[in-house]
Symmetry: C2
DNA sequence: TTTAGTAAGTAAAACGTTTTACCACAATCG
DNA sequence: CGATTGTGGTAAAACGTTTTACTTACTAAA
């Protein structure tokens, strides 16, 4: 803006403005008529003039002006209202668009919107959240962002939220169960409209209980079942059944199991696998079960398997990572896949499958899970908003067997 | 709490309470003397009694009580103050511990703290942030959380912040430059006390400029240099120099370069590499430069390199991922490493180096970088708080050559 | 005996929104 | 012509803290 425009807008002569400037020590330059003045400086001036018009004792006025200066002309809703000549509440309603119960004339609406953009008004979401009790932000807590499948899930959730213009912020647990939640516990309740917990945390029950007390909408995605929290899980039983049927049909009768049973889902898969073997009349050979807790241990397990006197004809790994690793170890030890040994994965997020070994695996449809999780969280938030109670639901998603070239009939 | 305790605390007979309950339709059960009553119900009761004592017109009282009921006895600082018999401001000062300019007697302090825990008071961080203009939360934006090195950096930043009890929330860009920031732009300014941008975003300059206008403290970590933003970078020139010297000393004279030049740091590394070759008097062979944009392309590049009429004696990859991949491709093609070809990586976050091929690489000390970034951001926040302007700084971190068994002298 | 200083607080404004309750005016209806 | 119903707003309270400017009671010094 230029000085002469401002003089017009204020309806005061330049001399008066200069006097005020000096009296209250404003840092606005009013030297040249054609000088450009920033919106913020203009706002400061307007605020000062308004403060002067209030007929307060001199002392109070000085205080007010000092605060205005300190605030550096930050533009608030009331500046927009003042500039557009309307009330604050009206500006709020127009810029929010959510309260459409009250009619507003098209003309005023345009004027306010124009003023807001002209002044560069940016709403303060903190104030908004305080008053409305809604932040518009969803939190995501991820057990381990290093896990490709969990990462895929978060990404899908993020994409889903992008569609509805919500923001999602995440915190991750860095292998320490519950740490992320412990860390954000203090804020979780007020900052987030809802929370998605991705992956199963070992100590999550305690945390779930705390969250329930806080009455925050929560959905657990790919975590464990809990009677008080809505969950979206993948049907491990079905996945392993499909996989086992595939292996059995190929003729495998001696199958090793490799999985990190720190994860609830892996525990489920193992139990199903044991049952299936029993049902199929296969021996319950404990020496073929391996439960490594990390990749280093997993490598050792695979080496042990390959060195067994009677090695199995197939290795069922409960993650694509482990499977890829097992395949690598086997290849480097001179085995051929799938001729010498069949190796299968789980998860189906092995982005590199075309590069390394194309794995037979179980794909868990992460997009579908993300969609369901978001839908359920939205439902909870809506119900919560109406001050009502919601009942948790459990959604179980069907996985799909993907057959690639890491599995074949065993050698005779 | 029990009913008789409450009667004592209120100093009113049960009958009077029951009357109030019926009159204002409170959902608190006051039937049995020995009945347990939740803290929240007790708070509701106290608030109602207080509202009644205010001598307002009946209508206003009803309004107030309705609001109290709607609020479900959410415990605020003023409840604690009321219960402890002190003013609200005092409670704030005691529970915050930050304003120690004012003396407080030990006795009152204990009483207030005891009351707060007894009522289960949890501060509302939104209200706090609104008034104090500090959220205590640092934002982190990551270009690609799938990149192991960036993930390591974020993790180190997170650990550093954990030490100082701050919370860090992140958003990630999902391969789309600037998307994360676009998404969180609206909130960034008010929700976060500062922002760490991890990795180089292609369109980050625009975003930097916007952030500067918002006067939000920002540090760019492992990103590109920018005159208006503080940066913490790794010295690519030094890293490549060390690596080149190693290869040259081993006797390599024909070195292929494989790197994703979408990243600024890779561009820097390439330029340094070109200069070093020139200085060493090696031919400037364009056919040995490969710039794949993803892993699939990278695999193809490596295949092409191996199929060259006169293949190079070494492949310099600008990431451990590419190098690992190149090694795999080479091994599967029947080459031996390092006997047949030398392959080097960059970054030094290859967590699996003991499993696959132990790579010669350049380690960039991520912890050190994280510490510096956090320190610098804290500095900016402090200066910002005092209403002063800060000058951006550039911190360059020295990488370190790690020699493992993927590099050796070329075959004669 | 006044004065100054200090310990231990209090009262109220402020942060920037949203939301509630109300109002003026015009048009319509019986 | 008076009552009713929309239309297009306004004024002010409320959200739950933090912070500023006062206050009171007591002690020590002059």
């Amino acid at each position: 803006m230029f000085l002469n425009e401002i003089v017009d807008a204020c309806g005061m002569p330049v001399e008066a403005l200069r006097e005020i400037k000096i009296k209250y020590n404003l840092s606005i330059s009013l030297e040249d008529e054609t000088q450009e003045i920033s919106i913020n400086d203009y706002i400061i001036l307007r605020k000062v003039l308004y403060a002067l018009s209030e007929k307060l004792p001199e002392e109070k006025i000085r205080q007010k002006i000092n605060r205005i200066i300190k605030n550096k002309g930050n533009i608030t809703i009331s500046d927009v209202a003042m500039e557009a000549g309307v009330s604050v509440g009206l500006v709020s309603r127009i810029l929010n668009k959510r309260d459409n119960s009250i009619k507003i004339s098209e003309e005023t609406k345009n004027r306010i919107e124009e003023t807001a953009t002209r002044l560069g008004y940016k709403a303060n979401p903190i104030a908004s959240a305080l008053r409305s009790r809604q932040s518009g932000i969803i939190g995501a807590v991820v057990r381990d962002i290093g896990d490709p499948f969990l990462r895929q899930l978060v990404q899908d959730v993020q994409l889903e939220y992008k569609k509805q213009d919500s923001v999602i912020l995440m915190s991750h647990a860095m292998h320490e169960a519950g740490m992320a939640l412990q860390q954000i516990k203090h804020i979780v309740n007020y900052w987030f409209d809802g929370l998605i917990i991705v992956g199963d945390m070992v100590e999550d029950i305690i945390i779930y209980n705390e969250l329930i007390n806080n009455s925050l909408p929560v959905v657990s995605l790919a975590g464990r079942n809990h009677e008080k929290v809505s969950t979206v899980t993948f049907d491990d039983e079905s996945g392993i059944k499909q996989l086992f049927a595939h292996l059995y049909d190929l003729g495998h009768r001696s199958i090793a199991f490799v999985g990190n049973i720190l994860h609830t889902s892996v525990q489920n898969r193992m139990h199903t696998f044991i049952n299936l073997q029993r049902e199929a009349g296969l021996p319950d050979d404990k020496s073929l079960f391996f439960t490594p807790k990390n990749t280093t241990e997993a490598v050792q397990c695979v080496k042990n398997i390959l060195n067994l006197e009677k090695p199995p004809t197939a290795i069922l790994c409960t993650s694509d990572d482990f499977a890829q690793l097992a395949a690598n170890v086997a290849i480097q030890a001179g085995w051929k896949i799938p001729e010498d040994i069949t190796i299968t994965g789980y998860n189906g997020t092995n982005e590199l499958h075309e590069l390394y070994i194309p794995l037979t695996t179980v794909r868990q449809p992460s997009e579908q899970a993300a969609v369901e999780a978001v839908k359920e969280l939205n439902r909870q938030i809506q119900i919560n908003l109406q001050g009502m109670e919601y009942k948790p639901v459990n959604i179980n998603i069907e996985p799909e067997l993907i057959i690639r070239s890491s599995s074949a009939a065993p050698r005779k």
